[in-house]
């Protein structure tokens, strides 16, 4: 069990990360979700011991990690860049760490062969990293992490260098390889869809602080702020200002046709196959709406939604208002 207590990090005067409290259980995958530059990688580097936090502490299974140097923490990290050693072949890349840790040659060989089969890279074993595709490189990085036999997995946007198709293909593989183990997993991403698909819980980060942490469902159904609401769920939620105090959030999928509803003008439509996304000009402002893909539309359109589907936010702070 990984425990972060009030973790904080600053560069110079500026706090990059502040007051990070979180717990990741055995076999649990928590996604760190946030925009670029919000401190996700920094958080992982603190946990790995590559940087030193300026406040707070990190515990693993009840034991404080803070005084243990990175090389002895037994934490595996998959880097955004994969950080494969360019002068070594795939096999040598996997071998290096085992050798440094004093594993016997016979055992090294056996473990490397096994893991090469697991990630289906046996044919590529003698190639250098630059002779591999992005997906293959990522699998080498995963294999290296697996061989570390770590107490915690840290994954820093392992998919961000891959194209959309490959990401979808690799997701089940990733789940099978790493997320089914018993170790805690911290998964950094800026892709909300990926976070929803892979993680048991999601922590949404904003400006170095946790904005909300919870299951994907909780984040989707009861977002704690406008920021979380617009980060989670695609197409993006509609945020409609009511007055100086109140902003209403309504998800495009909660908007429906209703002869009694507001009259709207159709500005554009994106056909997505099973569904279509309509951009409407309503009396309350621009409105996104999701409806069935085979629906034929005739103007004027009248739409409405259930009051119970509304999310109510404080217009000033953006925080969710009590029901």
């Amino acid at each position: 069990m990984l425990h972060l207590n009030g973790l904080g990090k600053r560069f110079g005067e500026q706090w990059i990360l502040r007051d990070l409290n979180m717990q990741v259980d055995e076999g649990e995958c928590v996604a760190l979700l946030g925009t670029s530059g919000c401190g996700k990688s920094t958080a992982l580097r603190l946990i790995a011991g590559l940087d030193r936090q300026d406040e707070g502490s990190i515990e693993l299974d009840g034991e404080p990690l803070d005084s243990i140097p990175a090389e002895r923490r037994r934490i595996a990290m998959v880097f955004q860049s994969y950080a494969l050693f360019p002068h070594l072949s795939v096999r040598e890349n996997l071998n290096l760490g085992l050798k440094i840790r004093g594993v016997s040659p016979a055992q090294r060989q056996q473990r490397i062969e096994t893991v090469l089969d697991t990630v289906r890279l046996r044919e590529m074993a003698d190639r250098r990293p630059q002779q591999l595709s992005g997906g293959q490189r990522q699998r080498v990085a995963l294999a290296r992490a697996l061989l570390r036999d770590p107490r915690v997995y840290l994954l820093d946007e392992p998919m961000s260098n891959l194209d959309a198709q490959l990401r979808d293909d690799l997701r089940p593989e990733l789940r099978q390889l790493i997320l089914q183990g018993t170790q805690p997993v911290l998964y950094v991403t800026h892709d909300q869809q990926e976070a929803m698909a892979l993680a048991n819980r999601i922590a949404v980060l904003k400006d170095g602080r946790i904005e909300q942490i919870g299951t994907p469902e909780e984040l989707y159904k009861t977002p704690a702020s406008q920021f979380v609401a617009s980060f989670i769920g695609r197409p993006q939620i509609n945020l409609l200002p009511v007055d100086k105090q109140l902003t209403i959030g309504i998800r495009p999928e909660d908007v429906g046709f209703d002869p009694e509803g507001m009259p709207c003008r159709l500005i554009s439509r994106e056909w997505q196959g099973a569904s279509q996304l309509l951009l409407l000009d309503s009396p309350r402002g621009a409105l996104r709406m999701l409806c069935a893909g085979d629906l034929s539309l005739s103007e004027p359109l009248h739409v409405s939604w259930l009051t119970s589907a509304e999310h109510r936010f404080d217009a000033g702070s953006g925080h969710r208002l009590a029901e």
């Binding site: 934490i75 595996a76 494969l84 440094i100």
Partner: protein, 288 residues
């Protein structure tokens, strides 16, 4: 089409390199000295036959090789240490980086004059210091062994910064993530030097070796100003010998022969070195 685009560059190289080489080659098969009234007179291979038997030339070739080998070796070691130091983060690093380059920015002749003065007997500061120790005059610049060392020290002092800069550039192409990954694999920083830094830096080391090796073998101005080739020709280089043949003995044909022979020796040494490196696999292209 491709050739057309290369034409300006080829012309340039032809003009400043190939043409002079051809001229040297042509001249080396001619007598062209005061005896011929400074007119080129074909003399078959007489210059080359003379060269094969010329003790002084081969002595100089040996001395120059020794000078180049020792200087460049020392420079590489020192430069590597400096580059590793300058690659770390510490306060005042920028200032030190700029200062470290100063010796290289100094014209060689000025630098050589400086060293000559420092080692001057009896007025140089070194001898002055020595007076306190009381060993008697050192006469550094009149003992072959010491004079040779002084030329090496001067060369190392001047060109180490250049190599350090080259290696520093190489160090900075190594992604920092590699070091992080290596640590998480359980490696200590000192092991990273051997497992990551040195292998990835090797192409830069080899470039420095080739560049500086060739440059040091052609050493002229440093020797000319610092020792004039002395004492007793013990620090004379091939380039200096060729220069003396042309400018003092006014024997242009033989000077061209010596120059060309030096060039041929150097290129064949470089080719052999490059081949050995290729065989050893150190030169494998690495793009991080």
């Amino acid at each position: 089409m491709n050739l057309l685009l290369l034409l300006p560059a080829l012309l340039m190289i032809g003009l400043v390199f190939v043409w002079p080489m051809i001229r040297y080659g042509w001249l080396s098969f001619h007598a062209n000295s005061v005896l011929t009234g400074l007119n080129p007179v074909p003399n078959g291979g007489a210059n080359w036959i003379r060269l094969l038997d010329d003790q002084r030339f081969w002595q100089d070739a040996l001395q120059t090789t020794r000078f180049a080998g020792v200087s460049v070796g020392l420079e590489l070691l020192l430069a590597l240490a400096i580059a590793l130091l300058l690659d770390q983060r510490w306060r005042g690093r920028g200032v030190v980086r700029a200062l470290a380059l100063l010796p290289w920015a100094l014209p060689t002749t000025m630098m050589a004059l400086g060293w000559r003065w420092i080692f001057n007997t009896p007025y140089g500061p070194l001898e002055r210091l020595n007076e306190f120790v009381g060993l008697g005059p050192l006469n550094l610049l009149s003992t072959p062994m010491w004079t040779w060392l002084v030329t090496v020290v001067a060369d190392v002092w001047k060109t180490t910064p250049f190599i350090a800069l080259l290696l520093l550039a190489g160090l900075q192409t190594i992604p920092k993530d590699l070091y992080s990954a290596f640590r998480l694999e359980g490696g200590r920083p000192i092991q990273a030097l051997r497992c990551i830094t040195l292998p990835l830096l090797m192409p830069y080391v080899l470039i420095a070796l080739l560049f500086r090796g060739a440059q040091a073998f052609g050493v002229f101005d440093l020797i000319q100003v610092l020792t004039g080739g002395g004492p007793a020709g013990s620090t004379e280089s091939v380039a200096l010998y060729a220069y003396l043949n042309a400018m003092r003995f006014l024997d242009f044909g033989y000077s061209a022969t010596a120059m060309l022979a030096g060039f041929l020796l150097l290129t064949s040494a470089m080719l052999i070195l490059a081949m050995l490196l290729r065989l050893s696999g150190l030169m494998k292209p690495v793009q991080p």
